[in-house]
Symmetry: C2
Subunit: 213 residues, 2 copies
Amino acid sequence: MKLYNYFRSSASFRVRIALAIKGLPYEYLPVHLAKGEHRQAAYGDIAADGLVPLLELDDGTRLSQSMAIIEYLDDIHPEPALVPRDALARARVRALAQSIACEIHPINNLRVLKYLSGTLKLDEDTRNTWYRHWVRSGLEAFERQLAQQPASHFCYGDTPTLADCCLVPQIFNGQRFNTPLDGLPRTMAAFDACMALPAFQQAQPSACPDFEA
Amino acid sequence: MKLYNYFRSSASFRVRIALAIKGLPYEYLPVHLAKGEHRQAAYGDIAADGLVPLLELDDGTRLSQSMAIIEYLDDIHPEPALVPRDALARARVRALAQSIACEIHPINNLRVLKYLSGTLKLDEDTRNTWYRHWVRSGLEAFERQLAQQPASHFCYGDTPTLADCCLVPQIFNGQRFNTPLDGLPRTMAAFDACMALPAFQQAQPSACPDFEA
């Protein structure tokens, strides 16, 4: 398999985690988002949506959207499971993942930040305040959801799931923009539990071949 | 079942479509987002994330996040299927759904528009341009994805799926803000095919008990 991705892309990071947890080897193909490589014709021929991550299977089939890719990997390589088999548990894990992937991340991705700076001419402080506002308020909602669940080592249960694949990159992004992360005990305990695992360490931006400090 | 929702909420609309396609009866419980009812303590006690839709099962279990709710309904009431059974087909349908639910809708939801107007003091024209920009560019990317697929009556294949549940509310929202929808032949053909079905008609905002013109 080949993974088109970018070290700093939060959605790419989710898929790298899933691949590492499942122990699946892949070729790392960097697409430099900050340099706009995803908007060039060469990548447009590969990815109809111009986004990373994109997973290319050995037969050339290409899959987009990080959560869809992770569920596909879980369908084809079921162990260790990233989505529980029980319908209600699946619904909980997916809802937690979507609380990050649909409520926080999209409002703060690179093209939105570029629109704020470029089109709306907002200054860096205003843009960073925007960023921190959505991360913080989103993580507070995430924490309230975790607080209603039974105690667990990770976001849901005692093994990492799709929800943890989404949470960890979001925390990395929050830290990069100095978002306050205090008062989120369940969330940060799940993050710490993840980062104690080699799979999450291997997948992190600083471990990527295209990493830039 | 009870569905906490709002006639104009795009994510609520997705779940109403799924319930209608599956012919599942439910009690409609309106939460008036524009009046801020979702931020009041009474609703906070019900929904940890303060969002609609929220599906309450007959045993009181509460489920959040529209795509997770629809997949749950599909797990428990498999026919008619909204997510294909084949792993690759599932991945495609989920990716299309997420192209709407993770790439377009979150940037334009009510709380983001309120931040643009309230916190950033942007005028209505600037806000509406923002709205149309993300809908239009997102739907163009959606169209490119459909164009790479074999001909189909709906977004994927010849029955409506999770992808159609997400597309139709997004088109309604686009129309409400006068977004140009020309040059999107596959996308609009899928929309028209959906709107020819009674389930989509029944679920639309104007058919809701809390509808306001």
